[in-house]
C-alpha cells in the first residue's frame, strides 16, 4: 500500500516537473509579428486597337511586322503570333504603341490568318 502510494506520488511529481520545465521553456519564446490572409480582385484584359501589318519591303511575300495600340498602356510583357500554333514574337511597348517584328521566324502573308496577342503587366 505504501509502495503504491509512493509510485503514484512519483508519477505525479514527474508530471509536475515536466509541466514546469515545459512552461519554463515555452514561456521565453518570442514570436515576431506576421501577416497572412486572403483577398481577391478581378484581373481585367487589355484593349487592342489600331492593328496594322507591314509586308517585308525586300520580300513582300512575308509579313515583316504587326503594330497596334494597347490599353492600359503599362503592359510590360506583350507577345503576338500571326497564325494558330505559329511562332510567338516578342513585342516592344512604347507608351501604348506596340510593335512586333515577325522576321525571327518568317511567316508568309498567305499563311498569316489569325492574330493572337497576350499581354501582362
Amino acid at each position: 500500500m505504501r509502495r503504491r502510494l509512493f509510485a503514484i506520488s512519483l508519477v505525479a511529481l514527474a508530471v509536475l516537473v515536466g509541466a514546469v520545465l515545459g512552461r519554463a521553456a515555452t514561456a521565453t519564446n518570442t514570436v515576431p509579428n506576421g501577416l497572412v490572409g486572403q483577398g481577391s480582385q478581378a484581373a481585367t484584359p487589355y484593349a487592342i486597337t489600331a492593328i496594322s501589318y507591314s509586308l517585308d519591303v525586300n520580300n513582300p511575300s512575308n509579313v515583316a511586322q504587326v503594330s497596334f495600340t494597347i490599353s492600359p498602356t503599362t503592359a510590360r510583357v506583350v507577345k503576338a503570333r500571326l497564325k494558330n500554333t505559329g511562332a510567338w514574337y516578342a513585342c516592344t511597348n512604347t507608351a501604348g504603341s506596340v510593335t512586333c517584328a515577325t522576321t525571327s521566324t518568317a511567316i508568309t502573308a498567305v499563311t498569316a490568318n489569325n492574330l493572337t496577342v497576350v499581354a501582362t503587366q
Binding site: 486572403q38 487589355y46 492593328i51 520580300n59 489569325n114 496577342v117 499581354a119 503587366q121
Partner: protein, 142 residues
C-alpha cells in the same frame, strides 16, 4: 442503471455539440480576423484574338482596291481573281493581273508589272523595277 447510462450518453453528446460549435466559432473568427484587412491592387492580363483578312495585309496605298484574296510566289505570279493582292519575292519576278482591280507588290529584284487594260490596278514597285505596264504606281520601295 439503464437510466444512469442514458443520462451519461446524453451529457457526452451535449458536450460534443458544444465543443463542435466552439471550434466552428473559433475557426470563423480566425479567418475573419486575418482576411478582412487584405488589399489586392487592380491588375491586367489577357489574350486577344482576331482573324487576319487579306485587306489588312495590303499596303495602305492599295486601300482603294478592296483586296479580298492573296496570291504570292516567285518567278511568274498571276492573279487568279479580281481584287487580289499579288505579292512577289526577293528575286526577279513578273507580276501580272488579268482580272482587274488588283494590288501588285514587288520586292527587291528588278520586277516587271503588267496590269489589265483599264482595270484600275495599283502597283508597289522597287526602285529597280524593270517595266511597269497598265498599272498605277502608288509607292516605291525599297
Amino acid at each position: 442503471m439503464r437510466r444512469r447510462s442514458r443520462q451519461a450518453a446524453r451529457t457526452s453528446r451535449r458536450l460534443f455539440l458544444v465543443l463542435l460549435a466552439a471550434a466552428i466559432a473559433v475557426g470563423y473568427m480566425t479567418t475573419q480576423a486575418f482576411t478582412a484587412a487584405n488589399i489586392v491592387p487592380a491588375t491586367n492580363i489577357g489574350q486577344f484574338t482576331q482573324a487576319i483578312t487579306p485587306a489588312q495585309l495590303a499596303p495602305a496605298e492599295c486601300n482603294s482596291v478592296a483586296v479580298t484574296t492573296i496570291v504570292s510566289g516567285s518567278g511568274t505570279i498571276r492573279s487568279t481573281a479580281a481584287h487580289q493582292l499579288v505579292l512577289g519575292s526577293g528575286g526577279v519576278d513578273t507580276l501580272s493581273d488579268g482580272h482587274g482591280t488588283s494590288c501588285m507588290v514587288g520586292g527587291a529584284g528588278a520586277d516587271s508589272f503588267s496590269g489589265l487594260n483599264g482595270g484600275g490596278d495599283r502597283c508597289v514597285v522597287s526602285a529597280v523595277a524593270a517595266s511597269i505596264k497598265k498599272c498605277t504606281v502608288v509607292a516605291t520601295r525599297p
